[in-house]
């Protein structure tokens, strides 16, 4: 049987026996999914790639735990999410962010959006980059759990159930975490907006 068309259970079984080509097929097939998960946590390409590699290496050592009851993709996503959460927790850097730390572009972006001129998702590539940079800095002040839940639910419009499946948290836990995370993010942004407004006066 060609590995490209092999069912996931068979691929997992072969990889478990040490078949490198089966594992290579797993990396090829699920790489985009793992990159997407790692991309929620990290923004620099090399960090995303490093995290994704760690996810696959961990998955390889844990292949025995995949029993085939759920999908392989779901199993791998959970490993990816928890690996990235742990990588981010071990970094332990959550610097405060104030309006004085903003670049000129970031300040201008905030001002424009505050004025309601461009509260649209479609933005120029350049402005999109500024927004993503600023978002990353704001998210950097939050905990990894807050970041994950916000990125998934508010950014990607994932459901409570999907977040619960990806993390292993209960649905009620996801709801509580999401409420707190939204409030913290809003407060961080509010602080930037109020300081920005004071600076503008």
């Amino acid at each position: 049987m060609e590995l490209e068309h092999a069912p996931e259970l068979e691929l997992a079984r072969l990889a478990r026996t040490g078949d490198e080509s089966a594992f290579a097929e797993i990396v090829r097939r699920y790489g985009p999914r793992v990159f997407r998960t790692a991309g929620r946590f990290f923004r620099r390409r090399e960090q995303v790639e490093e995290a994704a590699q760690e996810v696959f290496l961990k998955a390889f050592t844990q292949l025995d735990t995949f029993e085939g009851r759920g999908s392989f993709e779901g199993w791998l996503t959970r490993i990816a999410t928890n690996t990235c959460l742990n990588l981010m927790r071990s970094a332990r850097r959550r610097p405060e962010l104030s309006a004085s730390d903003l670049s000129e572009d970031e300040g201008a972006w905030l001002e424009q959006n505050l004025a309601g001129a461009a509260v649209e998702r479609q933005q120029s590539e350049e402005r999109g980059l500024v927004a993503a940079d600023l978002t990353e800095r704001v998210l950097g002040t939050l905990t990894p759990d807050d970041r994950l839940v916000l990125m998934m639910m508010d950014g990607e419009e994932a459901s409570v159930k999907e977040v619960a499946e990806a993390t292993g948290w209960t649905e009620s836990n996801v709801k509580v975490k999401a409420m707190r995370a939204r409030r913290r993010m809003r407060e961080a942004v509010e602080k930037l907006l109020s300081r920005g407004a004071k600076m503008g006066e």
């Binding site: 490198e20 594992f23 290579a24 990396v27 090829r28 790489g31 985009p32 990159f35 997407r36 790692a38 991309g39 929620r40 923004r43 390409r45 995303v48 790639e49 994704a52 590699q53 696959f56 290496l57 390889f60 905030l110 959006n113 505050l114 309601g116 509260v119 649209e120 998702r121 933005q123 999109g128 927004a131 993503a132 600023l134 978002t135 990353e136 704001v138 998210l139 916000l150 990125m151 639910m153 508010d154 950014g155 990607e156 419009e157 409420m179 939204r182 409030r183 993010m185 809003r186 407060e187 942004v189 509010e190 907006l193 109020s194």
Partner: protein
């Protein structure tokens, strides 16, 4: 809405998921409530930020698969090396303990017998049966061997018989 403000509503669900009527009510409340206006603006900006960030996605490079496989081989080799090192260490411990046991046996075999009291010396020990019976040797703090006890007893019997 005017009394409850809109913070709870904004906490409970993503802004983008609010229905038209909920959004209109929140906006109307924010217009008349200075406290909630900033909150609503911050929620709008937060929502836009998160959706913009979520649009950024990464795809694996063509070399990613090769990189992971190389890392896997490296890690396995390191683990095997580590296992070998552990085995080697255990074997070393085993060999050294065996050497220590052999040395101890050699010492016991070749050195210890010279320290043992010879039968001749035992026989010439000037103990009497009385001394033994009244435990004089013990009182003096001396220690007697089994052979010394037997020799002393039988010698006194022989003398009596003669």
């Amino acid at each position: 809405m005017r009394d409850e403000h809109i913070k709870r509503l904004l906490d409970e669900a993503p802004l983008a998921s609010l229905g038209k009527s909920e959004l209109a009510a929140a906006r109307a409340h924010a217009e008349g409530c200075a406290e909630c206006r900033r909150t609503f603006e911050a929620a709008q900006v937060s929502s836009l930020m998160l959706r913009t960030r979520a649009d950024e996605t990464f795809e694996p490079s063509p070399f990613f698969q090769t990189r992971v496989l190389a890392a896997l081989r490296e890690r396995r080799a390191a683990e095997e090396g580590w296992t070998f090192a552990r085995l080697w260490k255990s074997a070393g411990l085993l060999v050294s303990s065996m050497a220590a046991t052999t040395a101890a046996l050699a010492v016991l075999t070749f050195v210890a017998p010279q320290e043992q009291v010879s039968a001749q010396e035992v026989a010439s020990t000037p103990y009497t049966a009385e001394a033994l019976l009244f435990d004089e040797a013990e009182a003096e703090g001396g220690q007697m061997t089994y052979e010394q006890v037997l020799t002393t007893l039988y010698e006194s019997e022989d003398e009596e018989a003669r």
